[in-house]
């Protein structure tokens, strides 16, 4: 008896262990099985519905809408307060035309990336989900999270297929298949110098047009306005100093792991870290640090980049994109109308500007969707039907906004109105033909027009890095960067050569060479596949 009693827990333990190991080890394949099961399920549903549908006339040619469904729609960010009203309006139309209703779900910005991953990996039924380069569209597509749309498009959304230019469909392809419907609105999110024009005039300082003139401007501010920060900076050194510097130096995008690729010669990959080019950058930052442009405690500053400028604490920003520059102008126009902001896009310095790549905003149908056809047909409505489009972008006319002389006008303030412009975060289904802009946006349009003259395509955002083979090294390297590279990039290290040497040594220990070699291989494969020379 006592023997038995002692054995029992042991048996339980081994059983439990076995179960836990099984579930842990096979989590991935389990998920796939479930997804596969879900698909066959929906397959049978569809055929069943189809046989039923032959009796009743279908409203939309191509797809069968006889069965009423509810689509699950997933967006990033926060829902606007008036969402229920908008949803009701949309559903009224959609129920009539497509025999479907839609539930709009929002992830909120808190841990959105984790939630996004869970939504896609848990296999719960989702019919439409936002995609973008910054939500790792290409890598999710590669891993089979989305449904290929190639065969579905002509059937469920032929108009949409015609509406999106062929070249865009081409650009969003991953391994030869389309997994997302790209947005066709063209915008630039490239950087440009932002500075206080009124102060520049007052002290007769040069206009920032390149690195040298920007430095001269900051010099002037330092001398004339000792209490002001010459530039607004925060602890995100990588994004707010380094990548802006490299953009000005015609580098391709924000490449990781110190990889260097020039826009003019995309097939020549080199290690930016350790190069003379990087030393030059570090020297500049060191000089800026000595001149007091970069605060000593920069790595501890958590302010937003814009706040210090709009509150008058800082006199410039190294770089920001036109849309956000415009936001600042609008903000200042109400709080400090006597101030003036200047903007000089980097495109004019480098000679080219790249509008956003089509993968920057899009919508995909996850593999787990039970109604992919209906989802696509609904999405077509959202983009191409003016009623759907303007309702979801701007809210209810007369309640949320009005149109005056062709300009969008928000009723009340952003605090009192339950649906601000693009309040549903509907960047992906913007339709340039139906878009309304508020008057302040004319400034951005002017900048865009200028950049249009020198535009060149951004060919590189379709690149999907597969870091599964060097995940551990990647994590180790990120630590090393934080510890050794950021202080260098903020100009906080006395001896640049020695600091860089230490950093390179630590980075190599973390596995830099392996990462760079593997990344280069993937990059070369990408440029070869897309025919980029």
């Amino acid at each position: 008896m006592s023997k038995n009693a002692r054995k029992k827990p042991l048996a339980v333990l081994t059983a439990l262990l076995a179960v836990s190991l099984l579930t842990a080890g096979c989590g991935g394949s389990n998920g796939n099985n479930k997804e596969a099961a879900g698909n066959t399920d929906s397959g049978t549903n569809n055929t069943a519905a189809a046989t039923e549908g032959t009796a009743t006339a279908t409203a939309e040619p191509g797809i069968d809408t006889s069965k009423k469904v509810e689509l699950q729609f997933y967006m990033l960010g926060d829902a606007p307060k008036d969402l229920p009203a908008i949803e009701a309006e949309v559903n009224k139309m959609a129920a009539e035309e497509l025999n479907t209703t839609v539930k709009f779900n929002y992830t909120s910005w808190t841990d959105w990336d984790q939630k996004y991953k869970l939504l896609l990996s848990s296999g719960q039924a989702i019919d439409l989900i936002f995609t973008a380069d910054w939500t790792q569209y290409a890598s999710y597509a590669k891993r089979g999270a989305f449904l290929a749309l190639d065969d579905l498009l002509p059937k469920a959304a032929p108009e949409l297929q015609k509406f999106v230019p062929e070249s865009m469909w081409e650009d969003v392809k991953v391994d030869g298949k389309i997994y997302t419907v790209p947005a066709t609105y063209k915008e630039y999110v490239t950087n440009g110098f932002v500075w206080r024009e009124d102060l520049r005039k007052k002290y007769n300082l040069p206009q920032p047009t390149d690195l040298a003139s920007y430095e001269a401007y900051m010099d002037g501010i330092r001398q004339n306005e000792p209490d002001m920060m010459p530039a607004s900076l925060n602890s995100d050194i990588g994004n707010n100093l380094h990548y802006i510097y490299t953009e000005l130096n015609k580098m391709v995008g924000a490449l990781p792991y110190g990889m260097g690729v020039k826009y003019e010669s995309p097939t020549e990959v080199y290690s930016y870290w350790g190069s003379d080019e990087q030393k030059e950058e570090l020297k500049v930052m060191k000089r800026w640090q000595e001149k007091g442009f970069i605060p000593k405690n920069v790595l501890n500053i958590k302010d937003t980049m814009q706040d210090p400028v709009t509150s008058g604490k800082a006199a410039s920003m190294f770089g920001d994109n036109p849309t956000r520059f415009n936001d600042m102008v609008m903000k200042i126009s109400t709080t400090h109308p006597e101030w003036e902001l200047g903007y000089y896009p980097f495109g004019k310095t480098t000679g080219y500007a790249t509008p956003v790549h089509p993968v920057h905003n899009g919508f995909a149908i996850p593999k787990s969707s039970k109604n992919p056809e209906r989802a696509l047909a609904f999405y077509e409505k959202l983009v191409l039907d003016k009623r759907y489009n303007q309702l979801t972008e701007y809210g209810i006319e007369g309640k949320n906004y009005t149109v005056e002389d062709g300009y969008y006008k928000l009723l009340g303030t952003s605090q009192t109105n339950g649906f601000t412009r693009e309040g549903m975060n509907g960047w992906a289904w913007r339709n340039p033909e139906y878009m309304l802009f508020d008057k302040g946006f004319d400034g951005v349009k002017a900048i865009f027009d200028e950049l249009d003259k020198i535009q060149k395509p951004d060919l590189f955002l379709g690149f999907a890095e597969d870091y599964s083979s060097y995940q551990a090294e990647k994590a180790a390297l990120e630590q090393v960067e934080k510890q050794y590279l950021f202080p260098l990039e903020a100009g906080l290290v006395e001896d640049i050569d020695k600091g860089l040497e230490t950093f390179m040594q630590k980075a190599k220990q973390a596995g830099l060479e392996k990462i760079q070699a593997e990344w280069t291989k993937q990059w070369n494969a990408y440029t070869a596949e897309k025919g980029i020379k």
Partner: protein, 297 residues
């Protein structure tokens, strides 16, 4: 001898007081800083940094938090509801579990203890948990998602079991039985009465967990009306930092105003306030409940 002893005692006392005073100051000052910052005008924070006494007094922060009182109040309501139901139900379940496991005449005592204990060592991880909650239990957007996961905490069950075992003598069960009490009556009339300190401790732990919970909201709630307070406020701040950091490369521009420094601090005060008042009422049980409960039997 006597004088020397006194001298040492006094020295020790002096030392102890200094350490405690320094320690409590170290805990208090950041809190005071938050209170003061929440009452300072935002411009002054950006310009001069934080001060212990507001450089420019302003109620701006609180005004912003309560611009939409319905949102904050609704989130308050959700949190209150989940905290109350969660704590009540949780206490009931955990004292029951503790009582049953503490009874020596329960045959599968060890198996069950082990089963509970085992989950503290091995968990399925986030993804299986998420799948379980959303795909099988269909708890997305329901209060169940906020309450259920916290009801049975292995650590607290073990704490409860040990507390009951040391607070209620074995013989009491027997004598109660002889007097004709059933198992449930023993639980209700004897065990619960004798384990007040343990219940208070576990209850406070539970209430704190529910009050501070934001992760469940974050994972399972899409409907803004069911956001818990912590998550609602956390989300407001996060949206701001998202727009600030990610926006640069994405062109995301949201019309809404970002919360300022003073608003963030006001939020912190609004969130911590009520639970602070719970401490004094439970504190007297706290030390006893925790120490006795922690002795492993």
């Amino acid at each position: 001898m006597h004088i020397k002893d006194d001298h040492y005692t006094r020295l020790l006392q002096g030392l102890a007081y200094t350490v405690i005073i320094l320690g409590s100051l170290a805990c208090l000052i950041p809190f005071l800083l938050i209170i003061s910052a929440s009452l300072t005008s935002n411009d002054s924070i950006i310009r001069d940094g934080y001060h212990l006494i507001p450089a420019e007094f302003s109620l701006e922060g609180y005004k912003t938090v309560f611009t939409f009182p319905d949102e904050v109040l609704r989130a308050y309501g959700v949190t209150l509801f989940t905290t109350l139901t969660g704590t009540t139900l949780g206490l009931f379940f955990m004292t029951m579990a503790g009582y049953v496991l503490a009874r020596k005449d329960f045959k599968y005592r060890n198996t069950f203890s082990f089963y509970i204990y085992f989950t503290t060592l091995f968990g399925g991880g986030l993804v299986p948990w998420y799948i379980m909650m959303t795909k099988y239990l269909h708890l997305t957007d329901s209060y169940g998602a906020l309450i259920l996961p916290g009801l049975m905490t292995p650590f607290l069950i073990i704490l409860m079991k040990n507390f009951i075992r040391s607070a209620v003598p074995e013989e009491l069960f027997e004598s109660a039985k002889i007097d004709g009490a059933g198992d449930f009556k023993i639980y209700w009339r004897i065990v619960l009465q004798l384990s007040m300190p343990g219940i208070a401790t576990v209850g406070l732990f539970l209430a704190l967990t529910y009050w501070n919970d934001w992760f469940s909201s974050s994972l399972f709630i899409n409907d803004t009306h069911k956001y818990q307070l912590q998550f609602h406020l956390y989300n407001v701040i996060n949206s701001a930092s998202f727009i600030a950091n990610m926006g640069a490369g994405t062109g995301v521009s949201l019309g809404a105003d970002l919360p300022t420094e003073s608003t963030k601090m006001a939020m912190a005060i609004v969130v911590t306030g009520p639970i602070l008042f719970l401490y004094p009422f439970i504190q007297r049980y706290f030390v006893k409940g925790l120490t006795i409960g922690a002795v492993k039997g």
